[in-house]
Symmetry: C2
Subunit: 309 residues, 2 copies
């Protein structure tokens, strides 16, 4: 098994047209650095600075494509994260027109995180967030005649933002093209299920992956296996949870989140735009029931061990 450094090339679309940057064999490992989803445009931002529009054309710089020898459409690529090390800082931003509550938050806000303090980072003086870094975007390039933007995920994977794809998890991705053409990026240092405000703790990182080809096994969309409990340490003190009860799951999720934001503001004396950020990085959205027609319930779970009081 060989180890490879991923060349310092970025691509920003899903298309078979990209020139491969590397070719590897099943079982090989790769290491890389990868910029945050805003391509470093907030490197110099300091808390409280005016928020200037970002250049969207620089969003989602991805590493790859990487060819895996022998991979054919219908196969499965397994990705095992071996190491993810966030690099110095991170940001979480809400912006008008995006996120789960676009009508509630009409002003942009950015929170800058100090990631030089070990395995946790502080949110104001109210919470200590354990870092659980992962790649928000990861996929084998889909078989698409037209280039696809990185933003929406698809059955092929891509911008999945699944917060359990951490070191130790085995990730299974469908192969759409000969050679697989693996690409990845959008590193996150921590995130709650849902990523409600539109961003996680967005942070550049150094990483390493092992890539394994499974032939003769097909999956319709990504699957994964975690190594153990999802939130070791994080859930030791239990959760405080709010509910949303609505005939539509999206509306139910919004109601649960709105009530959680109220709870955070009241209990921890923070502002709604701050609570929205905190929820995006630590609160989990679960589907409690989706069968008691016509009303479904989504619950928003806050792990209490991260809160200071």
């Amino acid at each position: 098994m060989a180890h490879h450094e991923v060349p310092d090339v970025y691509n920003r679309l899903w298309t078979p047209a990209h020139e491969p940057v590397l070719s590897i064999r099943s079982g090989d490992t790769i290491s890389f650095d990868v910029r945050d989803a805003a391509d470093g445009q907030l490197d110099d931002y300091r808390q409280g600075d005016p928020i200037v529009p970002r250049d969207a054309s620089r969003s989602y710089p991805l590493r790859g494509p990487i060819l895996v020898e022998g991979a054919q459409p219908g196969d499965v690529i397994e990705v095992e994260p071996l190491e993810f090390q966030p690099l110095g800082w991170g940001f979480t931003a809400s912006r008008p027109g995006a996120g789960l509550l676009p009508d509630d938050f009409t002003e942009p806000y950015v929170y800058k995180w100090d990631l030089t303090t070990g395995d946790t980072t502080e949110f104001l003086d109210v919470a200590t967030i354990p870092l659980r870094p992962f790649l928000g975007v990861l996929a084998c390039t889909p078989n698409t005649p037209d280039p696809l933007p990185v933003m929406p995920p698809g059955d092929f994977g891509g911008n999945m933002d699944i917060r359990d794809l951490v070191v130790g998890t085995r990730i299974f991705l469908p192969v759409g093209l000969t050679g697989a053409r693996l690409m990845f990026g959008d590193p996150h240092a921590a995130q709650g299920d849902g990523e409600v405000c539109i961003t996680a703790i967005e942070a550049p990182l150094d990483g390493a992956l092992r890539i394994t080809l499974h032939q003769g096994r097909s999956i319709p969309s990504p699957q994964f296996q975690t190594a153990g409990p999802l939130q070791p340490g994080i859930e030791d003190q239990g959760y405080y949870a709010t509910t949303g009860v609505r005939p539509d799951l999206l509306d139910a999720a919004r109601e649960a989140l709105r009530t959680m934001i109220d709870h955070l503001c009241f209990t921890y004396r923070i502002e709604p735009h701050e609570a929205y950020i905190l929820a995006s990085v630590i609160v989990d959205l679960k589907i409690s029931e989706v069968v008691d027609a016509p009303n479904w319930i989504v619950s928003a779970y806050l792990p209490l061990s991260v809160m200071h009081r």
Copy 2:
């Protein structure tokens, strides 16, 4: 603080018109037995018997209403489950036209569980399910001019089917009427987030609750606080998860569940209708991301420690 036995009376609607069965004070405890949601109609069912239509008018026998002295609309009732003991047997049933996959499963199926074997119960020869009993239905009676059926939950609570309302969790319910008029039932011995096939392990139980009135605090819908980790023991070996990627959360949930059913059938050599039952009692539906427009991701999580191989 007094302790009360709840009288052996059942009601089957949400309405202020029911005669109260008991009046208690804040801090009192109550104990009770409560029938399963089918009112014992499957008591004599044996695995493989023909499935006969049930009398729907007997569904959801609830205990109560119980008056809490001093409770006023806008207050909060806290319910602390102190003990839940399932009584002997349970069932999980899928039926045509109900559940998350009504078009996939058009034949009824019933699985009968032996709950006399301690803290776990066996599913075929493939899984050992830890019991985590809770009440599927729990609420203060809403202020409704017309009687409401028990089936759909509402902002007042009711048929919530939230699987974390176990012993140790503190449950907060909005009060809609003078005296609160607490009612509860629909006991479940175990359930996954989503309750996908329409039933949990439905089982009669003996239980005890502590009831506390909180005045001067209002909540728009139920909230709860768990005592610790959600799945102690259950998640020690991690999870296998499938994904659904769709522009609608309900469709995404269906896709994740369909793929999980395929995974269960392939990996554990069971039939789809059996996998649907197993998923309903142990697989959790989580909203992985709901912001990467226009496609959302729901993931279905199977805890591996319950599976035999």
